[in-house]
């Protein structure tokens, strides 16, 4: 099989201007990946499938990953003018201080594809795509017209992560019921409060029991917590 750099340059040669970025993988598995710009992803996917040498005819695995937004505190050097008394005289002095700034790195939803070739018996090659954010711009192009195996897996990602695949022939929830509103595999999903007593409670369970009792209160709930 060609190395990942060669595949990248093959894609760039075949589709001029395609946004392909190499993402190295530091783990011993050495499965590096290519991040595609969603705009040309379908084009690139078709090239990978139909190119005689690459022939990635088998899309094995489609995965969703949630990367929530992170609040990063960093120190920024700021130059400002302050008034100070120097030698008994009030003067305007410029000084540089380090000031903590909070910055929110926007989160995104990522979809990862693992491709193999049944004809050439090589693989895997890992492709990834990212949405703009996690709330309103969550569209990604569907590869189901190219590899049918993505059909249910993309539906699952739509269900559990909320990525909307444009061009998918039948985009409905796969696992949860119709009318369910949440995307439970997202990391900020809150479980429904159906907590009850657990005989061998861990700390997290005890914390949840306390929260449950506080939220419901009343005599009827007496004794439901594990921590009593």
């Amino acid at each position: 099989m060609k190395s990942i750099e060669e595949i990248k340059s093959a894609i760039e040669a075949a589709i001029p201007g395609a946004g392909v970025e190499l993402i190295p993988n530091p783990s011993p598995s050495g499965q590096h990946s290519l991040r595609l710009a969603p705009a040309d992803a379908v084009e690139v996917a078709r090239f990978l499938r139909d190119d005689a040498e690459l022939a990635f005819d088998f899309l094995s695995n489609v995965t969703g990953v949630d990367w929530p937004g992170k609040e990063i505190t960093e120190k920024v050097k700021v130059t400002r003018t302050v008034t100070r008394i120097v030698d008994g005289v009030e003067q305007q002095v410029e000084e540089t201080v380090e000031e903590p700034r909070k910055r929110v790195e926007p989160g995104c939803l990522e979809v990862v594809y693992h491709l193999f070739s049944m004809a050439k018996k090589h693989g895997p090659i890992v492709l990834r795509m990212r949405t703009v954010n996690r709330t309103d711009q969550v569209e990604l192009p569907s590869v189901t017209p190219i590899w049918r195996s993505a059909e249910f897996q993309e539906r699952e990602i739509f269900d559990l992560y909320g990525v909307v695949f444009t061009g998918h022939p039948d985009l409905r929830r796969l696992l949860m019921w119709k009318g369910f509103k949440d995307h439970p595999m997202r990391r900020d999903y809150v479980d429904p409060d159906d907590f009850e007593y657990e005989p061998t409670a861990h700390d997290s369970v005890l914390a949840r029991a306390a929260a449950h009792k506080a939220a419901i209160g009343g005599v009827a709930q007496k004794g439901t917590g594990a921590g009593e």
Binding site: S29, S60, H114, L174, W177
Partner: protein, 395 residues
């Protein structure tokens, strides 16, 4: 026979949009469509699975599978617990073949951390994996025949042999079904010489069982009439839809991950990959029977050659196991197809992302294509020949 290379050539030629979609069928004349929800409680569906059918008389016009009735949130739970704590959960994915699930997960983590597995442990894994394959194929054929109407008898034959293999599992791992046996970098306990002797005895009895099973079934006129030419899956669609395992090989595509990836020590064993010719239910049945025979060949070699030594990588860490940041995708040829685990580590004790690539779910992608135009009774049969377990479909 269609070789994989020919499949690819076909893909390059046939480029028009929608070739890989199921055809849209119209009812004959002015017939009214009958909509039937088969499931989630249905005796044939191996569990809780639903198919929404549209029928024109007996003929299936549309079939939409509905999933999620056994969605037990395996992936979400696994992201909240340590790597090792997910091992017992993998048992409950495909609950007929817990040991191959263990193996696939251990393989993925070993890829993530770069751990080595000692030779003896590799042999034990192969022995247990192939025993699992035999009991899975035997029971899946039993279920298929049950659904065909051969009530009881073939399933009893299959379960009789399955019990012998489960006894081996139980004496080694402590549990009949949920073995929780493999560890990252090896196995949990060593096999004893007495266990190996018992295993040899069971394996020596297996060819006789398969002969008996085949005498009962393979040449049976009813079985042939019901299975041959039913539920045909074209190889090019099978490849495009990601179908793996005996279903893919039943359609004649030579793709067995044991031969492709050579994971573990499979390159040391001599075995053949049985392939089907027509891609119908009968070919899938036959591929499973032949695969059992090849598994016996592997077992005989492995039980003969198993070396002594350690069963755990001495450098393997059980407590405080924190893989370095990175990701890995590991896959094995499970009895039902390609079982893969995709892990992303952020350096913490829990996986950041834990994904199971379920062969059962993806093999069902082509269910509609195979069933369209056939009778309702055949739908049950075709569905049975896919060989799914709902714990893995819905996870």
């Amino acid at each position: 026979m269609t070789t994989p290379a020919a499949t690819s050539a076909f893909l390059r030629e046939k480029m028009e949009e929608g070739w890989n979609r199921p055809p849209i069928m119209e009812p004959d004349g002015e017939a009214e469509l009958l909509e039937v929800a088969m499931g989630p409680h249905h005796p044939s569906t191996h569990g809780v699975f639903r198919m929404d059918l549209a029928l024109d008389g007996e003929r299936v016009i549309r079939l939409k599978p509905v999933f999620g009735y056994l969605h037990r949130n395996h992936e979400k739970i696994a992201e909240g617990v340590s790597y090792l704590a997910s091992m017992p959960y993998t048992d409950r994915l495909d609950y007929i073949c817990s040991l191959t699930n263990n193996w696939a997960y251990a393989l993925a983590v070993e890829k993530l951390t770069g751990q080595e597995v000692p030779e003896r442990a590799e042999y034990i894994r192969v022995i247990l994996g192939e025993l699992t394959r035999i009991q899975n194929h035997a029971s899946s054929i039993g279920f298929l025949l049950q659904e065909m109407g051969a009530s009881g008898t073939p399933l009893m034959y299959a379960f009789k042999e399955r019990e012998k293999i489960l006894d081996l599992f139980e004496s080694l791992t402590g549990s009949r079904m949920m073995c929780n046996y493999m560890r990252f970098g090896g196995c949990r306990v060593d096999v004893s010489a007495a266990w190996l002797d018992a295993a040899r005895k069971v394996v020596a009895g297996l060819p006789g069982f398969i002969d008996e099973f085949e005498n009962l079934l393979s040449g049976n006129e009813i079985l042939m009439a019901r299975c041959q030419g039913v539920g045909i899956l074209r190889p090019e669609l099978a490849v495009n839809a990601g179908v793996t395992g005996p279903m893919l090989r039943g359609s004649g595509v030579n793709y067995d991950i044991r031969k492709i990836d050579h994971y573990g020590i499979y390159d040391r064993f001599r075995f053949r990959v049985p392939l089907g010719d027509h891609g119908d239910v009968y070919d899938r049945y036959m591929v499973r029977i032949l695969e059992m025979r090849e598994s016996i060949a592997i077992l005989n070699q492995a039980l003969k050659e198993i070396p002594g030594g350690s069963i755990m990588d001495p450098k393997a860490k059980i407590r405080g196991f924190r893989p370095k940041p990175g990701e890995a995708y590991g896959r094995i040829e499970a009895p039902k197809g390609e079982l893969g685990f995709y892990l992303i580590s952020d350096g913490g004790p829990n996986p950041y992302r834990y994904r199971v690539r379920p062969p059962s779910l993806i093999n069902l992608t082509v269910l509609e294509d195979m069933c369209l135009g056939s009778n309702v009774a055949d739908v049950v049969l075709i569905f049975g020949s896919v060989d799914i377990v709902l714990g893995e479909v819905d996870r």
